[in-house]
Every structure is written in structure tokens, then in C-alpha cells.
């Protein structure tokens, strides 16, 4: 793991997972690769963080899981965003923009 890879902020992982799932249903590895791609390789999500997050979010009702077939006809567990997840994503996005704006201002101020 390269040193530039920043560790994820608390709560940010949920946001990134929801964001990835907006494109459609996906299995764990797919989500992990999608996050990597979305963040330009800054964030690499390890399974040890990914799976607990997925299961927690499923219990929250933001995403739903089902067994499906992968591109290569392998059985894999897929995740899909629920209505509650949609709402959560919107709320989290707003919150995040506010935070990043505020932090940005704070850092630019002399």
C-alpha cells in the first residue's frame, strides 16, 4: 500500500459506497474497485473495512443484498441501493459539501 493512500475518514466510507451503488447493483469487489476508480486511486478499501460497512448499511436498510451471478458466471453477493439509501446519500452529500466547503475556507484563510 503506497503511503499516499489516505485512510478513510469516519463516515466517508458509507458515502462512497452509496455513491458507487448509484450506478447500479454491484458485488463487494466491484464496489471496492469502483471507489478506487472514483477517487482516482486515493482510497483503497480493504475487505476488512468493506464487509463490515456493507453489513451494517444493510442492517440500516440503506442497501439490500441478494445472491446473483458475476460476469464469469460465478455466484456472488450483490448489493443494491434502497429508497432509504437514496435519501441517505442525498443527506450525506449535502453534509459533506458543507464540511468540505468549510474546511476549504478555513485552510485558505490567512
Amino acid at each position: 500500500m503506497s503511503p499516499e493512500q489516505t485512510s478513510l475518514l469516519q463516515g466517508t466510507l458509507d458515502l462512497l459506497i452509496l455513491k458507487s451503488l448509484r450506478a447500479g447493483e454491484m458485488h463487494g469487489l466491484g464496489i471496492s474497485r469502483r471507489i478506487q476508480q472514483l477517487t482516482g486511486g486515493t482510497f483503497v478499501v480493504k475487505p476488512g473495512s468493506l464487509f463490515p460497512a456493507l453489513h451494517r448499511m444493510e442492517e440500516e436498510g440503506w442497501i439490500a443484498a441478494f445472491w446473483g451471478e458475476s460476469e464469469n458466471n460465478r455466484r456472488a453477493k450483490y448489493y443494491r441501493m434502497s429508497k432509504a439509501g437514496q435519501k441517505q446519500l442525498e443527506a450525506e452529500t449535502k453534509r459533506w459539501s458543507r464540511i468540505s466547503l468549510a474546511i476549504g475556507q478555513a485552510l485558505e484563510a490567512s
Binding site: 476488512g48 473495512s49 464487509f51 460497512a53 440500516e60 458475476s70 456472488a76
Partner: protein
């Protein structure tokens, strides 16, 4: 909706663990497969891809564990897991488990039983709503910080204080002659005179009928109404609800039953549960002091005064207010209130001041806690030695990714289960001990009054048991848990013998040995001292003869005799008894020595004695007797004479004092012929005609000043008849009954027994029970300590078997090894002994100051206890050391 989803997953996680787990397993595995596939597609060789994927995943089991931990209800789930696991592993070592549970049960059981004593004597709140607002108002004098108030004083306090939501007063529980119908010989019940606002201020709602109205306590002798106690109602009236409105006879007067106190209110007394409550205004029917007017005399102090503090009023405000009032009393009524103050006590203060018995309870609790501590160190030692055997298992768990905290929790769960089992068994033991206290033959109240042992296994005691269990779980589980999870993984997995004898580790175990030796030494010393203290009390000479004495009590007020009739009755009774065959001598006395009832006090000024500047008079205890008393009781008259038939009501007033009194006020000269003046220096002079030998009066404690008055000059209604018999005193029973029947068939005989039997119950049995209790605790403590000590020391030595083998192989001889091992044991036991001596010494000081007041150090106790404990400890080191020396070096090196 999300809540519902959450609840569903919670239940699913809890009840379909297997399916959820299988699902997770598949998911992680499929993830791994996908990873491998991805890497192969990227051009990696298959084997390389497999390896890289595994590294990236970071371990299938670890990922699964992380997911499990993040799930809803994960905590509960893992707790259940811990419990299941702990129970399984405890069952595997059932022998050890049983031993540990018994050990803890003994400690917890003893602590809970003794705590129930202290709770009943001090802490248990009054059985009324908001009990903490109820305070006690008392008078204070030079000699006492707990004095009752008179009726007049009570009324002044009630009407002139603003700190309270009501001030109540009640008299001591007294024997009342009760008959449901006229013409039946009355039976003795316990009655309490209370102020009219008693139930209202306390907030006690009657279970049936009503409480007193304010106007029922205003006119002396007008409103003959009675409220029944719940037990009395149950036993005498079979819980008949129609009892309200009925009339019953109390001391021969008709009373109307207006209500029944609720079951939740057995009264305010610690030991007694009153049968009857009557208004103070009915005092003429019940009052004990014939010489005083209950309603008028400010020094007829018979009332306990309690009050409910107003919300927002501080105790200090109330104290200040009462102090001002007491100053006013002193100013307005100097004759009867000279140098009397007043104080307001909380429940705790009241209970600790009015009765000293709680001190024994506290010492018992300390001893029981010491037993529990010894038990805990025992268990800790056992768990510690077991932890070593489990070191490998723990190392494997740690290697597989279990967190240290998680493992500590698991091990603590184990000791918690042990402690809970021990706690349950302890509750059973505590319950057994309390039941034993309640059983008829253990504590005998030689009285007709409704007294009962107040110790009980209630919610509060149970709570303490639970607390103790949890505490002991931590005490005995934490150290072993911390230690056994602090393993060097590599070493642990390599060999079974993981224990690198680190200094720290040995230190812990050595601490246990030291703690055990010192605790048990303290326990034994205390037990020994206490037993000796009580025995010392028992051995003391009482100063009078106890055998061949029959006692029986009369109270002619129960059948409405007036003062003249009463004195006539006693005169005739004494004459009849003297003529009865088998009666060697006869005596009448107001109180018997070492009896249940307190002696009256007499206030006086000794003639010719220089009073201290701040005192107006002295008060000492007294007894009223007839002329046969000293002969019958075998009390020697040292100087002067005993009372004689010539000391009649018309003759000059005379008194006899005890030797202690005589020496106190006339240290150089002869007290005979001197006078004391009653009440104050202007009071009636009474001539001292004799000095009697000092005996034991109220209790076995230090000798005190004492005064005797002749019955003819100091009439008392309730008297005890004492008969000295030539043979078995109980053979006089029938002649006494016959004589009384011929005088008045309605007069009941109260508390009729042989004095010796009464004395044994009263003065011997209590200390005997205490000795039994303390002895049991000491013995249990010693046995536990021996078992634990032996285990610990032997274990420590056996741990060194290999080392000893090496030493032997290198040429050490048995005596060197023995010296080595024993030397170590010697140092530990020595340290423990030194510590135990210090603690035992401190406890002895405490006990001396609280209980026995014997001063000094009991050397004998230490001489017996210290060497015996030392011997045990040294034996515990010797046996395994000996064995270790005997085995061949080759074998020792292969050992384990």
C-alpha cells in the same frame, strides 16, 4: 421503517446465527475467488494470483470476525458465546468449579448474614413513606446524649417549632393486660402510647378503619380508642374485618377498636412489633410512674419524640431552633431542666446512639469480609494456576486474531459465572444463618412482649449479595485474566511451558501468598480475641446467687388496683410466701439484675459533697426492693444494715447504696449515716443506712453507682417476686399460684421461670452465639487459608521442578534445594505474618475501643495463632520441596 429493519436483523443475527454465518462465509469466499480471477485476468500466474489475493483480503476468518463485530446485537451475541464457552470449560473442570463455588459461597453467605444484622440495627429505613425526612428529637445532659422528653416538653416542642411537618411522640412499648371479653384473665400484649398525629405525620394509612383523630388525644382519659398492630389483628382476630367498632379490655378499661395498622407498618421499633396503639391522652390507664403526673410533670420524661422535617429545611436549622427552645425550658423551669440541652438526630445517628449492639454487627461484617477476601485470593490463586494450563489455548486464540480485551472478557465471564454460582449458594447459606437466628432456641426473648429478631434476607441484603458476587468476580478474575493474556506468542506456541519466570508474574503470585497469610492471621486473631472477650465476660462473677431461685412478675394495675391495694397485695403475698413450705426466703424487687427492663434512675445530691460547678445533681440507676432482697439474692451488706420491716412509709426515709457509690462520693469516710437529697439540694433528705456489695446490674459491663429504696417508702406497681427454694425452684410454682389465687384469682403471673434459666438465656446465650459465630468465621477462614496457602506455595514449588532438576544435575544436594525453597516460603509467610500482625493489632485496638474495653494486647492470642499459621505455611512449602528433591534429575528435566 429503518427501526423495523434493524429489529429484524437483530433477531435474525440472534436466532439464525448459523445461516447468517454460512452466508457470510460464502460471501467472503466468493470475494476471494473474484479477486483471484481478477488477478489472473491481469496476467498473473495462477499460484501467484492466489497468494496476492489472500494477502489483499487479509484472512478470511479475520474479515468474518470484523463483520460479526459490526452487526446489530454483536455485543449480546458474543456475550452469549462467552457464557456458553465459559460454562463448557467450567464443566470440564467440575471438581475445581465446585470447590471455588463453595469457597465463594462461604464468604458471600457470611457477609450477607452479618450485613443483615447491621442493616436491621442501623440502615434499614423506617417503614414509612419518605423515611429519610423523619428525625429524632432528644434531650441531652452531662451524662447522656439520648434522653426522652416529658409530655409537657413534647407539647411545647410540637407547638413552638416551624421546621417540621408535624411532631410525634410515643412511649416505650409496655406490657398491657388484654382481654377480648370481660371476666377473662388478661393476657400480656405489647402496647405503645402514641400522640394523636402519629399515623398522620408518619404517612401511614391504616389497613382497616382509621387512625386517631386530633381531638382523640386532647382530654386525658376521655377517648378510649385503640389501633391494632397487623400481627395482633391476624392472631387474635383471625384477620376479621369486622373488628373495627368492637370493644376490647386493656388494663381493665374498655377500648373501642377504630382501625388496624397496615402490614407494611410493623412499628418504629427495631426489635418489637407493637400489638396495640393507644392515644397518649389515655396515659392514666397505662402510665408506669406512680409518683409522677404524666400530663403535668415536666420531669416525667417517658416520650420518644420524632418529627418530619419540612421540605427545604436543613437539619442545622432544625437543630438551632430546638437549641433555642431548650434554652427557654432551662430558663423557665430551672428546677427540672438545669443543664439540659436538645439535639436533632437523623435515623442513622439515632440508631447508633440508642443501642450499642450494632458495633458487634460491624465487627462481624469486617470479619466476614475478611473471610470473603481470603476466599477470593484462594480462587484467584486457583484460576492463576489453571491459567497456565490454558496458556497454550489462549496463545492459539490470540494467534487466530482474538483481541486481548475480548479474551479478558471471556476469562472474566468465567469468573463471573463462578461468582454468580457462589453468590447463589452464598444467599442460601446467608438465608440459613438468618433462619438459625430466627429459630426458637437460638435467641430467646425472656419476655411476654412481642419482640422478634429483626435480621432478614430482604431486597437490600440480596442486593449486597449480588454486589459482592460481582466484586469478587473481578477480585479473583481480573489478575489471572490480565496475566494469562499477556503471553509471548512465539514461545507459547512453541512449547507447553510458556511460563518464563518473569519477575512481574512471580510477584503477583507472591502477593497472593502474602495477602492470604495476613488476612487469615487477622481473621484468626480477631476471632480469638472476640471469643476470649466474651468468655471473659461470662467468667466474671455476677456478685449474687443465681441458682434455686424462682421468679415471677406481678402488675396489679392490669386489674385496676390502686396504689393502696397494690401495696396491700404485696404485703400479703410476702407474708403468705414466707409461710410456704420449701421457701427459704422471699424477696420483692422492681427489676431483677441482668433482666430485660432498664432500671429506673434516681436524681439526687449527696450531702456534704462539693458539686462540680456545672452540675446541679447526679442521676444513677436504682432498684426498689423489700427487706428480704439481700438475703434471697445472696448479696452481702458490707457496712450498716439491710432494710427492715421497721422502714415503713411513716418512718424516716432510708436508702442503701452500693460500695461503688459509697467510694465515689465519700472516698475517705463511711457512707453509712450520710444523707442524699432527692432531685436537688433542697429535696427531701434520705439517710444511707447500709452499703451493699457491688454486683452486675444492667449488663456485664463495668461496675456502676447504684441505689436501693425500700418498697414501703417508694411504692412501685410492677414487682418481681423472687423465692429461694431448698429444692428445685419450679416445685414452688404451684404453691405460688395457689397463694395468688387465694388473694385474687384474676391477677396473672408474668414471666414465671427459674432465674438461672433466665440468666442463661439472657446473659450467656448472646455471648455464646457471638462466640459460635466468630469461631465459625475464624475456622472457615483458617481452613480456606490453609487450603489456599498450601495450594499456592505447593504450586510455586512444583513450578520449579525443572529448575530443581537442573540444580540437582549440576550437583546441588537435597538440603541446598530444601533451603532454597523453604527460604523463599519463609520470606513470604514472614511478610504475610508481619502484615497480618499489623492488621490484627489495628483490629484489636478497634475492638477494644468498641466492644470490650479490656485495653492492652492479648499476647496469648498471638502466641497461639502466629506459630500455627507459620507451621501450616512451612509444611505447604516442605512437602512439594521434598518431593522435588527426591526425583531424579533426568526425570525432572523431562517433567511436563
Amino acid at each position: 421503517m429503518p427501526l423495523l429493519v434493524k429489529a429484524r436483523s437483530f433477531l435474525r443475527n440472534l436466532f439464525f446465527t448459523r445461516r447468517v454465518d454460512a452466508d457470510l462465509d460464502q460471501e467472503v469466499h466468493s470475494h476471494l475467488e473474484l479477486l483471484i480471477e481478477e488477478k489472473i485476468r491481469a496476467g498473473m500466474p495462477a499460484a501467484e494470483a492466489r497468494r496476492a489475493a489472500r494477502i489483499e483480503l487479509g484472512g478470511v476468518e479475520q474479515v468474518k470476525e470484523q463483520v460479526r463485530d459490526s452487526r446489530t446485537g454483536a455485543f449480546l451475541d458474543s456475550l452469549l458465546q462467552d457464557f456458553r464457552f465459559a460454562i463448557r470449560s467450567l464443566r470440564r473442570t467440575s471438581g475445581l468449579t465446585v470447590f471455588v463455588v463453595i469457597t465463594l459461597a462461604l464468604g458471600i453467605g457470611m457477609t450477607s448474614a452479618t450485613f443483615s444484622m447491621v442493616d436491621a440495627l442501623i440502615f434499614r429505613p423506617y417503614p414509612v413513606p419518605h423515611p429519610s425526612n423523619v428525625v429524632t428529637l432528644v434531650g441531652t445532659t452531662h451524662d447522656s446524649s439520648y434522653e426522652n422528653f416529658s409530655y409537657r416538653e413534647y407539647r411545647d416542642i410540637r407547638d413552638n417549632t416551624k421546621s417540621y411537618d408535624g411532631v410525634i411522640a410515643y412511649a416505650e412499648m409496655q406490657a398491657v393486660g388484654f382481654s377480648a371479653e370481660p371476666g377473662v384473665t388478661p393476657r400480656i400484649k405489647g402496647g405503645v402510647m402514641v400522640s394523636g398525629n402519629f399515623f398522620r405525620v408518619l404517612g401511614v394509612e391504616p389497613g382497616l378503619g382509621r387512625g386517631f383523630r386530633a381531638d382523640e388525644d386532647q382530654v386525658p382519659g376521655r377517648d378510649a380508642v385503640v389501633v391494632l398492630g397487623p400481627d395482633f389483628w391476624r392472631h387474635e382476630f383471625a384477620s376479621d374485618p369486622g373488628v373495627v367498632g368492637k370493644t376490647i379490655r386493656l388494663n381493665g378499661t374498655m377500648f373501642t377498636v377504630i382501625g388496624v395498622a397496615p402490614d407494611s407498618f410493623p412499628g418504629l421499633l427495631t426489635f418489637g412489633h407493637p400489638d396495640l396503639y393507644v392515644p397518649l391522652a389515655m396515659a392514666p390507664v397505662f402510665s408506669t410512674n406512680l409518683g409522677k403526673n404524666f400530663f403535668e410533670d415536666r420531669d416525667d420524661r417517658e416520650l420518644t419524640v420524632k418529627a418530619r422535617l419540612k421540605m427545604g429545611t436543613s437539619l442545622q436549622d432544625a437543630r438551632n431552633e430546638l437549641a433555642v427552645l431548650a434554652k427557654g425550658f432551662e430558663r423557665d423551669y430551672p428546677n427540672v431542666t438545669r443543664s439540659r440541652g436538645a439535639a436533632v438526630y437523623t435515623q442513622f445517628q439515632t440508631r447508633t446512639i440508642e443501642d450499642d449492639n450494632w458495633k458487634f454487627g460491624v465487627v462481624f461484617v469486617i470479619l466476614a469480609l475478611a473471610v470473603l477476601l481470603v476466599a477470593c485470593t484462594n480462587v484467584a490463586g486457583l484460576l492463576l494456576s489453571r491459567a497456565r494450563e490454558r496458556a497454550r489455548e489462549i496463545a492459539v486464540r490470540l494467534a487466530l486474531g482474538a483481541g486481548r480485551l475480548r479474551l479478558i472478557r471471556l476469562l472474566l465471564t468465567e469468573s463471573l459465572i463462578l461468582a454468580i454460582l457462589g453468590g447463589l449458594a452464598g444467599i442460601a447459606i446467608g438465608y440459613g444463618v438468618i433462619e438459625w437466628f430466627h429459630s426458637k432456641d437460638t435467641i430467646v426473648f425472656a419476655t411476654e412482649l412481642p419482640l422478634a429478631v429483626p435480621f432478614q434476607m430482604d431486597k437490600r441484603v440480596l442486593l449486597v449479595c449480588v454486589g459482592l458476587s460481582v466484586l469478587s468476580a473481578f477480585l479473583c478474575g481480573l489478575a489471572p485474566a490480565l496475566q494469562s493474556t499477556r503471553v509471548d506468542l512465539v514461545n507459547a506456541l512453541k512449547s507447553a511451558d510458556v511460563e518464563v519466570p518473569g519477575r512481574k508474574r512471580l510477584w503477583g503470585r507472591n502477593m497472593l501468598v502474602v495477602a492470604q497469610v495476613s488476612m487469615s492471621l487477622m481473621l484468626l486473631t480477631a476471632a480469638f480475641l472476640m471469643a476470649r472477650g466474651f468468655e471473659h465476660d461470662l467468667m466474671l462473677d455476677t456478685g449474687f446467687t443465681k441458682d434455686h431461685l424462682l421468679m415471677t412478675t406481678f402488675d396489679p394495675r392490669l386489674i385496676q388496683y390502686n396504689a393502696t391495694q397494690t401495696q396491700q397485695f404485696y404485703k400479703l403475698l410476702a407474708e403468705r410466701m414466707r409461710e410456704t413450705p420449701g421457701v427459704q426466703s422471699e424477696a420483692l424487687t422492681q427489676n431483677i439484675p441482668l433482666g430485660n427492663d432498664d432500671f429506673d434512675g434516681v436524681t439526687f445530691v449527696p450531702d456534704g459533697f462539693t458539686m462540680p460547678p456545672d452540675r446541679e445533681n447526679f442521676t444513677v440507676t436504682m432498684d426498689t426492693i423489700d427487706e428480704g432482697y439481700f438475703d434471697t439474692m445472696g448479696i452481702t451488706i458490707l457496712r450498716g444494715r439491710a432494710f427492715a420491716a421497721t422502714d415503713t412509709a411513716d418512718a424516716p426515709r432510708v436508702t442503701i447504696v452500693n460500695a461503688h457509690f459509697a467510694k465515689h462520693y465519700w472516698p475517705g469516710g463511711d457512707a453509712v449515716g450520710k444523707h442524699i437529697r432527692l432531685d436537688n439540694s433542697a429535696g427531701a433528705p434520705v439517710e444511707i443506712v447500709g452499703v451493699a456489695q457491688t454486683i452486675k446490674y444492667q449488663n456485664m459491663a463495668t461496675p456502676a453507682d447504684f441505689v436501693y429504696m425500700p418498697l414501703a417508702q417508694h411504692p412501685v406497681a410492677r414487682m418481681v417476686l423472687l423465692l429461694r427454694s431448698s429444692g428445685d425452684p419450679l416445685q414452688l410454682l404451684q404453691p405460688v399460684k395457689d397463694a395468688v389465687r387465694s388473694l385474687d384469682p384474676n391477677l396473672p403471673l408474668l414471666q414465671t421461670r427459674a432465674y438461672e434459666e433466665f440468666y442463661l438465656n439472657q446473659a450467656v446465650r448472646g455471648p455464646q452465639i457471638a462466640i459460635d459465630l466468630v469461631g465459625t468465621m475464624g475456622l472457615v477462614g483458617l481452613l480456606l487459608a490453609i487450603a489456599g496457602l498450601y495450594g499456592l506455595v505447593a504450586y510455586n514449588v512444583s513450578r520449579r521442578t525443572r529448575e530443581i532438576g537442573i540444580r540437582m544435575a549440576l550437583g546441588a544436594v537435597s538440603s541446598d534445594v530444601l533451603r532454597l525453597v523453604m527460604g523463599k516460603g519463609f520470606v513470604l509467610v514472614g511478610t504475610g505474618t508481619a502484615l497480618g500482625l499489623v492488621m490484627g493489632f489495628a483490629l484489636e485496638q478497634l475492638m477494644n475501643s468498641m466492644l470490650f474495653d479490656s485495653g492492652g494486647v492479648d499476647v496469648v492470642a498471638y502466641l497461639i495463632v502466629v506459630p500455627s499459621l507459620f507451621l501450616v505455611a512451612m509444611l505447604a512449602a516442605y512437602v512439594p520441596a521434598r518431593r522435588a528433591c527426591r526425583i531424579a534429575p533426568t526425570q525432572a528435566l523431562r517433567y511436563e
